[in-house]
């Protein structure tokens, strides 16, 4: 099995720097957007940008993109459980404190 | 057919217990029969059976149906518990370590809950300190009393009498003594009581509570 011997292509410096530039760019955008009043969408856009950023970090800096598929499954399970838990919690909150 | 809360709860209880009992009997009977029939002595060589898909489906599907029945009864009974009739009389209940107090619509207060027979009563539950839980076993109702929240419950006494109120959420040293009574009076007697009741605690009733519950107040003092 080659899993052990790190034979995968070593990612180049260039790719990392491009990803970093993307991350910094997204940070700028999210800070800039915060200045506008996007009514209800502020949280949504901020979170969407944060998710894109974290995807960049996990996929490239943390090599999930090129790593063994089992990590993708693990991450999926972990995130799925977290999401389900938060959704179920909100079934309580949204009905307990209905929005006016 | 309209069941009241008590009957509805008991019906649900016995349906679930009934189904459970059957399942338990079935499982145990099968197991003990197999242990007897297929003992080493009677059946020296086992048969190589490793599974059966239709059986698996069967014993997933049948319990599924059974639990849906259970859920249904639980849910409809619960709906009833949560929808107080519009004409219910409201009483404000306050729980504190370790006593209950009641305030009626006209401002009268007491430490025993007087209610008229045959009229739905809605209780608004407030806590002055930590979590408590207002529980009247005879009426099968209970709701926690949480500081900062306004919980409620309702019930309808159908018979005259005295019913225990217990605190069912652990609240410290004298949790076990956070007791009180619901006294269901005929309508007229209740009306005259509530009109005459002073907007102050009526002391005489609290001794009545202690008597009825036969609580040794001494044991309270053993700190």
């Amino acid at each position: 099995m080659s899993e052990n011997t790190h034979t995968q292509e070593h990612p180049g410096y260039g790719l990392y720097i491009v990803v970093w530039a993307g991350l910094v760019g997204l940070t700028t955008i999210t800070v800039a957007l915060a200045g506008f009043n996007l009514v209800g969408l502020t949280v949504v856009t901020a979170l969407a940008i944060a998710i894109v950023k974290s995807l960049l970090v996990t996929n490239y800096f943390m090599h999930v993109k090129t790593d063994s598929a089992v990590f993708k499954v693990f991450i999926f399970v972990c995130i799925a459980i977290f999401l389900v838990v938060i959704i179920l919690t909100f079934f309580d909150l949204t009905y307990r404190f209905p929005l006016k | 057919m309209k069941l009241d809360i008590v009957r509805h709860t008991d019906l649900t209880f016995f349906i679930i217990i009934g189904i459970s009992f059957l399942l338990l009997a079935l499982v145990s009977a099968a197991m003990f029969y197999f242990i007897y029939k297929y003992s080493r002595k009677r059946n020296p060589v086992a048969t190589d059976i490793t599974g059966n898909t239709s059986l698996e489906i069967l014993w997933t599907a049948i319990p599924l149906v059974l639990v849906l029945v259970m859920f249904f009864f639980g849910y409809t009974g619960f709906k009833q518990m949560r929808n107080a009739p519009a004409d219910a009389m409201t009483v404000k209940v306050t729980g504190r370590m370790w006593a209950w107090s009641y305030e009626y619509e006209n401002g009268a207060k007491s430490d025993t809950l007087y209610v008229p027979v045959g009229k739905p009563v809605k209780l608004e539950l407030n806590s002055a300190d930590v979590n408590h839980s207002f529980y009247v076993p005879a009426f099968r109702v209970k709701e926690d009393v949480i500081p900062g929240r306004k919980n409620y419950l309702w019930f309808e006494p159908t018979e005259e009498g005295k019913y225990n109120v217990e605190c069912a959420e652990y609240c410290g040293l004298s949790h076990a003594y956070m007791l009180s009574l619901v006294v269901a009076l005929p309508k007229e007697r209740f009306e005259s009581w509530v009109v005459n009741a002073k907007p102050k605690e009526t002391a005489s009733d609290s001794t009545a509570v202690k008597d009825t519950l036969k609580i040794k107040t001494d044991s309270l003092k053993t700190k």
Partner: protein
């Protein structure tokens, strides 16, 4: 060839240090076993004291404050120090690598570290009894705001639970990696013994649920020490959010307790039925199903707390769904006995008792899962009865069952089987006398965590207390029987006393330090036997 058994191995360290510093999974398992039994006996003694107090109304032996600390410590020690680590740390540690055909777990040093976390946590629990405001009196659930207001030493006790949680996480992590990476050649996922599947599911819960408890407890500490506003209603917090977070962990935790026990049942039944298990796939998959659906039902502990009606209905529904895979297991186990060739040896009898008692516990869980009945029964002795049936009669019983199953392998000593069966019988009788009346009391409205009670419950309390004495007798017989076996001079070296098929029966008794001289190669499923009668083709 060095065939030094793990018991005789003389390594760098001698005597006690050879145990306390060894990273051998088998020695760590024994460390855990000893510590678990000590804490179990402590907590069980608290239980017996509580029963004595409840023998008569009013004061019997202790005052209310002591009673409150008794049930809290009873719960905390039982849950965090006995039943959650329980089967994984003892039997998992000992047998998981052997069953996978490996020489050790993936991270042996981490394994030892988790034991030290465990002991450190236990030490903190004990410390919390003597320093600060005295023993904790909140119940094992630490509900706010009471846990923020009480003078007792909640901060330290909660920190102790946090540390023990860490130990639990590390064990789970270790097992997952071991199962993924250390299977011997030929051992595909569906050739793993079912005990391994149980451990695998449990490990995921330990890993993904424990941190939530960790942070919740940490926040309680922050609130108590620094006065940070998080849950405290006086500072705008919501006590129900605390309960959400607590049960997001603590419900899955009940499956941490029971899944390994269920795995063990799936080992013991085929061994004594002398045949392959019925429904390997469904049993393995139902473990995963229980683990994952188990995350979605925590709200059933909060039906009366004032969470929204919609969410109560959803949680009730999901609670019923999670009962199905448990049923699937029970049915498959019983079906395994069909056309089997059953030897009713002692470990098998534990399983028989388990199936009945656990079913009673689980089925009464359904009563609690339905909304209107739970409103009536929550926080009464009905719940106390339910969870003792599933925890003590489920996992607790199987802990002893596992001990009897694997005892000869672990210690190379054989106990007296007759005595074990008698002990078990007393256990079962005592158990039901102790806990069955609690169902009735609960239905009649006896609240839990009550120091005192109204006269109408008296008779049930008396029966229950008497039951606790029978139960004590039963457990004492079991324990003394095992201790006597341990003290025997001659070794028992039969590799396979019961006719088991999994790998641990193929290695020497007691296992050598390295488990295997040569890594085995697996060809068949874990319970495969030759020479069975082939089933007739159904039409």
């Amino acid at each position: 060839m060095d065939h030094v058994s793990y018991l005789d191995y003389k390594g760098k360290h001698k005597g006690l240090a050879g145990w306390l510093l060894s990273t051998d999974h088998k020695r760590i398992a024994i460390l855990y076993l000893v510590s678990l039994i000590v804490f179990f006996l402590v907590a069980v003694t608290f239980g017996v004291l509580m029963r004595l107090e409840m023998l008569t109304p009013g004061r019997t032996i202790v005052d209310p404050q002591t009673y409150n600390t008794l049930f809290t410590l009873h719960g905390v020690i039982m849950i965090f120090l006995f039943i959650i680590p329980g089967i994984p740390v003892v039997f998992g540690n000992f047998f998981l690598p052997i069953m996978l055909g490996a020489k050790d777990v993936a991270f042996p040093r981490l394994n030892l570290l988790s034991w030290y976390f465990y002991i450190f946590g236990a030490f903190l629990v004990i410390l919390s009894l003597f320093v600060g405001g005295g023993p904790i009196d909140t119940g094992w659930t630490f509900y706010v705001p009471y846990s923020l207001r009480t003078q007792s030493n909640v901060t330290l006790a909660v920190f102790a639970a946090f540390v023990i949680g860490f130990s639990s996480i590390l064990t789970g992590l270790n097992f997952i990696v071991t199962i993924h990476r250390m299977r011997c050649p030929g051992m595909t996922w569906f050739k793993m013994p079912l005990f391994v599947w149980g451990l695998y599911s449990t490990s995921w819960i330990q890993l993904l649920a424990t941190p939530i408890l960790g942070i919740t407890l940490l926040l309680i500490m922050m609130e108590r020490i620094f006065g940070v506003g998080i849950f405290d209603p006086a500072l705008g917090g919501d006590p129900l959010l605390y309960q959400h977070l607590f049960w997001i962990y603590s419900h899955p935790a009940v499956y941490i307790m029971v899944l390994p026990a269920m795995g063990l049942v799936s080992e013991i039944i085929p061994t004594f039925s002398k045949k392959d298990i019925f429904g390997y796939g469904p049993i393995a998959m139902s473990s995963l199903a229980i683990a994952f659906i188990g995350y979605l039902v925590w709200g059933h502990h909060m039906f009366s707390t004032g969470i929204s009606d919609t969410s109560r209905a959803i949680f009730s529904f999901l609670t019923f769904i999670v009962a199905i895979p448990s049923g699937v297991k029970i049915f498959n186990w019983v079906a395994t006995m069909y056309k089997a060739s059953i030897e009713t040896r002692a470990p098998f009898m534990f399983v028989v008792a388990f199936i009945v008692i656990f079913s009673i516990g689980g089925l009464t869980g359904l009563v609690l899962g339905a909304l209107n009945t739970d409103i009536h029964l929550t926080d009464t002795y009905f719940v106390v009865a339910h969870f003792h049936y599933v925890m003590f009669g489920g996992m607790g019983l199987l802990f002893f069952g596992g001990l009897h199953y694997w005892f000869p392998k672990m210690f190379a000593k054989m106990y007296n089987e007759r005595a074990a069966k008698w002990g078990l019988l007393l256990f079962v009788i005592g158990f039901n006398t102790l806990y069955f009346p609690m169902f009735i009391m609960g239905y009649l409205g006896m609240p839990r965590r009550y120091y005192d009670y109204l006269p109408e419950y008296k008779i049930y309390h008396i029966i229950s207390t008497v039951g606790s004495w029978i139960l004590v007798t039963g457990i004492l017989i079991l324990i003394i029987n095992l201790i006597r076996a341990l003290l025997k001079k001659e070794r028992y070296t039969e590799a396979d006393p019961w006719g088991g098929t999994t790998l641990e029966w193929k290695v020497a008794t007691p296992p050598s330090l390295e488990n295997f001289d040569e890594i085995p190669v697996v060809e068949h499923g874990p319970y495969y036997r030759e020479n069975l009668i082939k089933p007739e083709k159904s039409h």
